[in-house]
Structure formats: structure tokens, C-alpha cells
């Protein structure tokens, strides 16, 4: 279980403030952050994923990103909206690196590869992947290892219906295991396939419960 706490957050791009609030707390379950383009969903996710600098404090179960970045990052897994990877390496090389860093086993990842129908492409260079394949690879990497918090930024864009159904199933499984899943999407999520525990949207620079 991951309890995510954000305190006194301010995020600006030059003089433009994107996010500013005193406190936001979430615990286990599937949390959907909805909203249109430019509302700050991806920025929020990048902050929690330790991708970009910000003012404030982000913690998971009292482990602070600022004070213990490696321990913090061991608890999270992040799949960005538009993943970018080195074009010259193969899908397997990227996956092997994730397995090694996350001290995970190959078997779980192989199952994920098969579920997402990526088996035939994993030995190909990433540069030759379509945007959908790139997205699937980022999801496979994100679900590699034993993280407590899964941050999935727009996981449904560019993937086909079959892959979306696989993703719904995985999300539901992880939720049932007591993990926390943060999902952003401007598309409606099929609530018959996954249980959404809470929904937020960003209004006036802060997160508001819907």
C-alpha cells in the first residue's frame, strides 16, 4: 500500500503557475485524474515520478523524494504519456535494464510481453516501433518490478482496444493486490472494466475531488 502525500506544492513554468496547493493525500486504489489538455495532469505526474523540479514536498509512506530519492523511486513506477527511448536499442535491452534495476524476474515481464502481443517485436530496434508499440513497451516496463505506486499518464492513448483490455485487467489485478494506481486520462474510463476508487480534476491550480 502506498500513501502519497504532497505538501506545499508550487510548480511554475517561467512565470506561469501550473499547480499550487497546500496538501493532497491519496492512499491505495485506483485514482483517476481527469481533465482536458493543459490542466496540469502530466506536470503533476512528472512531479510525483521525480522527473521535474518543483517547490514543496512529495512523500510515499513517509519516504521523501528529496531526502531519499533512491528509496522513493524504488516504490514508484512511471509510464509517461509520450514515451521516448533510445532508437538504437531493442525492446528487450530496455526491458532487461528495467529488470536489473528493479531486481525483478524475467518471467513476469515475459508474461506481460505476451499479453501485450509484443513478443515478435522485442528484438527489434525501438526506432522502428510505431507509437502504439512504444506505448505498450512503456507499460510493460512500468509493470516490471514490485512498485507500490503506478503512475500511468494517459495510458489509453495510441494503444488498440485489445491492448486497452489487457491494461484494464492488469490495473484491476494490481488494485486488488492493494497497490495504488494513479491514472490520467482525458478520455472516459470504462468503469465496468476497472473500479475507480476516487476521481480528481485540477481546478484553479489545485486537485478537487469529483
Amino acid at each position: 500500500m502506498a500513501e502519497v502525500t504532497i505538501n506545499n506544492l508550487t510548480k511554475k513554468y517561467d512565470s506561469y503557475t501550473v499547480l499550487e496547493f497546500e496538501e493532497w493525500k491519496i492512499s491505495n486504489g485506483t485514482i483517476w485524474i481527469k481533465g482536458g489538455n493543459g490542466t496540469g495532469k502530466s506536470t503533476l505526474f512528472k512531479i510525483i515520478a521525480g522527473q521535474i523540479p518543483f517547490k514543496g514536498e512529495v512523500m510515499i509512506n513517509t519516504i521523501s523524494l528529496r531526502q531519499k530519492p533512491v528509496d522513493y523511486r524504488a516504490l514508484i513506477s512511471y509510464a509517461e504519456a509520450e514515451p521516448q527511448y533510445p532508437a538504437l536499442i531493442t525492446g528487450n535491452e530496455l526491458l532487461d535494464y528495467h529488470i536489473r534495476v528493479r531486481k525483478s524476474n524475467r518471467k513476469t515481464s515475459t508474461e506481460l510481453v505476451e499479453e501485450f502481443n509484443m513478443g515478435d517485436f522485442m528484438d527489434n530496434k525501438i526506432g522502428g516501433y510505431s507509437s502504439g508499440m512504444l506505448k505498450k513497451l512503456s507499460l510493460i516496463c512500468a509493470f516490471t518490478g514490485d512498485a507500490e505506486l503506478f503512475i500511468l499518464d494517459e495510458p489509453l492513448i495510441t494503444i488498440d482496444i485489445e491492448a486497452a483490455n489487457v491494461l484494464y485487467k492488469i490495473i484491476q489485478n494490481y488494485r486488488n493486490q492493494g497497490k495504488t494506481l494513479l491514472i490520467s486520462s482525458h478520455q472516459e474510463i470504462d468503469k465496468n472494466l476497472i473500479s475507480i476508487d476516487s476521481t480528481f480534476q485540477i481546478q484553479d491550480l489545485r486537485l478537487v475531488l469529483c
Binding site: R73, A74, P83, I89
Partner: protein
């Protein structure tokens, strides 16, 4: 359209190569006493005009510079931010080639100025054939570069068969080697040109001060030239790392591991030059250690400066220039080991800060 080319591609070329151009300017004009400058260049040009071998070397230098410009423009044109250039395809062929040729002449100004001086001296001493050869050759280089750029912009749909296709898919590439593969496979021409330039400068400095009899200062100036020559490569690799390897920021990889990977990459990148330096140092442990320290810490400082100035296209080249000036003084005052250690300590602290602020 031409104005736009000059304002974007032309400006970016000069901003990225300020350090290198200033270094070459120093080597060509600053290494001679001011009172002997005119006589020195007069003699140099006369010797180029009168010897076919010297003339060939001069033409080779012109070719390398033009190749570097061509590579730079083509590399930029492949970036999404330069996709607007594709609109030039609607203009007729002659106009397009003319625009590209003028752009190459603009970014080739440092060479063009020397060709002009060459022509003046050549006329005074009646070396008409040499002048004709140099001017014709340089014009051909400009038009050639313009023509090939025109082709790459207009004929992108043509499938180009690779002459050398090495399939590396089955070779397991460990993480530390990814930036090296990126350079070898995606930035091949840039790497080759950089290495040629680096070798010429290294050997040139050693030959220029051959009478100094393996003085440590000479070797360190050569290493400084090597670092400055690689500034564009370092910036390119870092840009690649910040976009394509940004996923690292969400993985439990420690600051020490990330920094060591970078230092290891720089050590691999500079291996050929460091081997030259070691052979020059003739087994003096102190000289070898000083050179290695200066090379790695200097290159790492340039890498960290890109973070510090947030990849600012004006401040970054200024820093490269300042680094060159300061390093030169430190070398002359024989304090390079302390300077290198200081650079390494400062950059290590800065890297640590960047890591903890999620800025890597």
C-alpha cells in the same frame, strides 16, 4: 527564406562552435608574436602556394570545415523544430541551391576570410594558379554542400541503401554503452569530423611546440584543444540523454551510479586522445595523471555547465570560451592538477544537487 536560414541555422552554428572557433583563431593568430604576425602568415601562404603537398593539406582543411558545416546543417534539418524548412521545397531548384550556398558561405566565413587573405598574398607574389585552384575548389565545396542539402530536403522519400550495415540487434548492449552507440550509429559523421579535428589540433600543437621537448604544458594545451573540440559532442549526448533516457529519473538508480556512468562514458570517448597523450608523456606518472584528470574533469565541467546555463545558446558558448581562457592561464602557471581536482569537486557537488532536485 535565406534570412530565416541565417537567423536560425547560421546563428546556431556560431553559438555552438564559438569555443572551437576561438581556439582555432588563437592557434592561427595568437601563437605568433604580434610583430611577426604579417611575416608569419605571408611565409605560410607562400609555402602553401609553392608546394603541392602543402596546398593539398590546405584543401583538405577546407574540405573538413565544409564537411563539418554540411553535417551540422543536415543534423539540424532532421530535428522536428526545423521541419518548417520543408516549405522551401516549393521554391524552384536554382533558388534553393543558391540559398543553401549562401548559408554555407555565411557559416564558412572564418575560412572564407582566410581564403581572401590567401588570394591577396597570392596575387602579390604571382601565384595565380594556386589562387585559382583554391577559389575554384572552395566554390565547388560550397555548391556541392548546397546541392546535397537541397537533395536531402527535397528527396526525403528516396530510400537510401546503407553501404555498411552492421546488425547489432543480437549484440547485447549494456546500459553504459547506449550513449556510445548513439554517437557511433546516429552521429557518425559528427563523431568522425570531431575526431579528425581533435587529432589535427592535438598533433598540430605538439608539432608547433616540438622544441619544448615534451613539456607538460604543451601536452595539456593539446588536451585543452581536445576538450574544446568535443564540446558539441558532449552537448549532443547530453541532449539525447535528457530526452531519450529521461525514464532514468523514475528508476531507483543512485546519484553515484549515474555520475560514474557519465565519467566512464567520457573516459571511453576520449580514449584515443588520451592514448596519444600517454605516448607523448613518455611514462611520466605525474604527467599522465594530470592529463587524465584534466581531460575528464574538464569535459565533465562542460557537461555540467549545460545544466547550469539551462542549455542557453548564448551563455553556454561564453562559458566554453571562459573555460578555455582560465584553463590556459592555469596551464601556464602550472596549477592544472589542483584546478582539475577543484573542477571535479565542484561538479560532483553540483551533480549531487541536481539529482536531489530531480533536475538531471
Amino acid at each position: 527564406m535565406l534570412k530565416l536560414y541565417i537567423k536560425t541555422l547560421g546563428k546556431e552554428f556560431y553559438l555552438q562552435h564559438t569555443g572551437l572557433l576561438l581556439f582555432i583563431f588563437y592557434i592561427v593568430f595568437g601563437a605568433v608574436e604580434p610583430g611577426q604576425m604579417v611575416t608569419y602568415h605571408q611565409t605560410l601562404i607562400i609555402s602553401i602556394c609553392s608546394s603541392p603537398i602543402s596546398l593539398s593539406i590546405f584543401l583538405l582543411i577546407l574540405s573538413i570545415y565544409t564537411l563539418k558545416c554540411y553535417w551540422f546543417i543536415n543534423q539540424k534539418l532532421a530535428l522536428p523544430i526545423y521541419q518548417f524548412i520543408n516549405i522551401s521545397c516549393s521554391v524552384n531548384k536554382k533558388e534553393q541551391i543558391k540559398n543553401w550556398a549562401v548559408l554555407y558561405a555565411v557559416i564558412g566565413q572564418p575560412v572564407l576570410v582566410y581564403v581572401a587573405i590567401f588570394a591577396c598574398v597570392g596575387i602579390i607574389y604571382s601565384f595565380y594558379w594556386s589562387i585559382l585552384i583554391v577559389i575554384t575548389y572552395y566554390l565547388m565545396l560550397l555548391i556541392g554542400a548546397a546541392f546535397f542539402t537541397y537533395r536531402s530536403v527535397n528527396l526525403r522519400y528516396i530510400y537510401r541503401k546503407k553501404f555498411v550495415a552492421i546488425d547489432l540487434r543480437k549484440t547485447n548492449k549494456p546500459f553504459w554503452s547506449w550513449p556510445l552507440y548513439y554517437l557511433l550509429k546516429s552521429q557518425t559523421i559528427m563523431l568522425i569530423v570531431c575526431k579528425i579535428l581533435s587529432f589535427i589540433l592535438f598533433k598540430g600543437i605538439i608539432w608547433m611546440f616540438a622544441d619544448a621537448n615534451q613539456d607538460l604544458k604543451v601536452g595539456l594545451i593539446a588536451i585543452l584543444a581536445v576538450i574544446i573540440t568535443h564540446s558539441v559532442i558532449i552537448s549532443t549526448v547530453l541532449k539525447h540523454e535528457r530526452t531519450q533516457l529521461s525514464f532514468l529519473n523514475s528508476l531507483p538508480v543512485s546519484n553515484g551510479k549515474r555520475m560514474l556512468t557519465r565519467l566512464f562514458f567520457l573516459s571511453c570517448l576520449f580514449t584515443p586522445e588520451l592514448l596519444f597523450y600517454i605516448s607523448y608523456s613518455s611514462n611520466s606518472i605525474y604527467s599522465i595523471l594530470t592529463g587524465l584528470m584534466f581531460c575528464i574533469s574538464g569535459a565533465f565541467t562542460l557537461m555540467m555547465s549545460i545544466y547550469f546555463f539551462d542549455n542557453d545558446t548564448e551563455l553556454n558558448p561564453t562559458f566554453v570560451f571562459l573555460f578555455f581562457i582560465v584553463s590556459m592561464f592555469v596551464i601556464l602557471y602550472q596549477q592544472i592538477l589542483i584546478f582539475s581536482l577543484l573542477l571535479l569537486i565542484i561538479t560532483t557537488i553540483y551533480h549531487h544537487q541536481l539529482f536531489f532536485k530531480s533536475k538531471l
